[in-house]
């Protein structure tokens, strides 16, 4: 089959229960908001549309183009979905796509599905749409360029989150997994960006109404820009830091109770206690990494409030 799994679907067994549960929590919360938002704004006809768009993302992931040495570029689709369908609808679409990949093709595990949805579905939509939204009202060229950058960063965000989750579960070594994952995905992201931009350019030429300011694509609130920029900044700041000073982050993860060392009890729940932060400067930075997720949720809520007011 032409179905090529991307190296970002985490299988079962690679994340510990606490990290999986934490990711499920954020995923369920964000999807919950997305459901209540789409229920309010979408007509009956839109539900089949979202289903078919989910099938579209699935099918579009099979479109590839040869890059070099037998590798090929292809699409993950989070940013493209968010830009064309609007962020909330895209979140539900991506959630369904990743759920089916896990359930039907075992591409990504079941208990870690929350993490996979968060990495590849929700964060890609937030970064992809948030940055693109900032270019709304500008010329077509600027919007396409922004969409490309957003698509690239959305892939990097997913890769960084995947690495962090693996590391928090004690499955990977931070200063190896982050450069490796980000290195591979910098290239995969390039393919994503190129296809996203070309696809959008095609839609601009043939059905500009689908991307106009009155369409679902243009109706996301300005709060999305804040959320998108925050996450993007988080990725840009955290990636080099995490590769340069992994030991500091390691300490904090243990302090926070995310990681058990081999000595501290073998049971998965034995060493878990959400401790208080250490006092070093590094611990504050790492806490920021985890806080980023909280900020993300808050930014989404803020965006909601902003839209209500306008």
């Amino acid at each position: 089959m032409h179905y090529t799994p991307a190296p970002m679907h985490i299988p079962d067994g690679f994340l510990n229960l606490l990290v999986s549960a934490f990711c499920w929590l954020i995923t369920v919360a964000l999807d919950g908001i997305a459901i209540s938002r789409t229920n309010k704004s979408l007509g009956e006809r839109q539900v089949p549309l979202m289903g078919i768009m989910a099938a579209f993302i699935f099918a579009a992931q099979m479109i590839n183009f040869p890059v070099a040495g037998g590798t090929s570029g292809h699409l993950l689709g989070g940013a493209l979905a968010a830009i064309t369908l609007g962020p909330w609808a895209a979140m539900l679409v991506m959630t369904s796509v990743i759920a089916v990949q896990g359930l039907l093709f075992q591409d990504g595990g079941l208990t870690v599905m929350g993490a996979n949805i968060l990495n590849m579905g929700l964060l890609t939509c937030i970064v992809g749409y948030g940055l693109y939204r900032a270019s709304m009202g500008r010329s077509r060229g600027v919007r396409l360029f922004t969409a490309g950058v957003a698509a690239w960063l959305s892939v990097m965000t997913g890769a960084l989150m995947t690495s962090l989750e693996l590391w928090l579960s004690g499955t990977a070594k931070l200063n190896i997994v982050i450069p490796a994952m980000l290195g591979i995905h910098a290239l995969i992201g390039l393919g994503e960006a190129l296809i996203t931009v070309a696809a959008l350019a095609f839609i601009f030429r043939t059905r500009p109404d689908l991307l106009s300011e009155g369409s679902p694509s243009g109706q996301g609130s300005r709060g999305w820009i804040v959320a998108g920029v925050l996450v993007a900044l988080g990725v840009i700041l955290l990636s080099p830091l995490a590769s340069v000073n992994p030991d500091g982050l390691n300490r904090v993860a243990i302090d926070l109770g995310f990681m058990t060392t081999a000595h501290a009890g073998t049971g998965p729940l034995a060493g878990y206690h959400i401790g208080f932060l250490g006092s070093s400067a590094l611990s504050r930075i790492a806490a920021g990494a985890i806080g980023l997720l909280v900020v993300l949720g808050l930014a989404a809520l803020a965006g909601r409030a902003l839209q209500k007011r306008s």
């Binding site: 190296p7 089949p48 289903g51 070099a68 039907l104 079941l110 990977a172």
Partner: protein, 264 residues
């Protein structure tokens, strides 16, 4: 494309085929959770877990090694876990210098790595078995009964239904590209990297518009056929005593694994 190209369901009448889909989904998830929470190097418990899996394979009538054949899909991801060998504190087994990195493999790290692989390998097999003995529409229904929000269940139902149609569409696009990209023998077909990327993007855009416009027609056709916001299934949805019994036996087995896994 034939509908079975993607479908993982193998028709049969075994005990597993006849179990309620909800029970199957729950037991499969419980099995995976059980594997995930087993401590590192709990080999006896992992062994029991494997026995449970083989037993399920056997009673499914699909053959003992059925899930084994497809169980290596998650293997490429093992690359990420290799680094666990060096990151878990324990008794050092040596020192490797690779470029600027100094790697110290530890015994605990090695055990962690092996355990992660075993957990993942066992877990993916139960997931393979789940979709082999349960028709996907039944799984979708089960999700609905297991409190997955109805809008997501509906999207998944549509996704599943139109996956085949849109995959055909992609195949046509890919075939057309191939036909256009004929090259002289010995020369490379196609243009520069940018050109190739642009073509792929155009294909994605084309597919998007075709899907978008198709959704309108599909919705009208569905309304005409009596769609009332829910997809129907032919299977009766009632959890019976036998279902509960199987679920209890399975859960009891998982508890035994946990106890054994923690004793050593």
């Amino acid at each position: 494309m034939h509908v079975n190209a993607f479908d993982r369901y193998h028709h049969g009448h075994s005990l597993l085929h006849n179990l309620d889909a909800r029970i199957k989904v729950l037991v499969a998830v419980a099995y995976i959770v059980s594997n995930v929470v087993l401590p590192d190097a709990a080999w006896i418990a992992f062994g029991l877990s494997l026995l449970f899996l083989l037993y399920c394979n056997w009673i499914s009538g699909l053959g003992l090694g059925f899930t084994l054949k497809r169980s290596f899909v998650a293997l490429p991801f093992a690359l990420a876990a290799i680094t666990a060998i060096f990151s878990v504190p324990g008794h050092p087994l040596g020192t490797w210098h690779i470029g600027m990195l100094t790697l110290v493999p530890t015994d605990a790290g090695l055990l962690r790595f092996a355990s992660v692989l075993v957990r993942s390998w066992l877990s993916v097999q139960i997931a393979i078995l789940l979709v082999a003995v349960t028709a996907f529409p039944d799984i979708i229904h089960a999700l609905g009964h297991l409190y997955v929000p109805s809008i997501i269940v509906t999207i998944i139902a549509f996704l599943y239904r139109y996956l085949f149609v849109l995959t055909d569409e992609v195949m046509r696009l890919l075939r057309a590209r191939q036909a256009r990209s004929a090259g002289m023998a010995g020369t490379r077909a196609g243009g520069s990297l940018w050109w190739r990327a642009r073509i792929a993007g155009n294909m994605a855009g084309q597919l998007f518009l075709r899907s978008y416009e198709r959704s309108d027609r599909i919705y009208d056709a569905m309304l005409a056929r009596g769609y009332r916001g829910k997809l129907q299934t032919m299977h009766v949805e009632k959890i019976q005593t036998a279902d509960w019994l199987v679920a209890s036996v399975a859960l009891a087995a998982f508890v035994v694994m946990q106890v054994l896994g923690r004793m050593s």
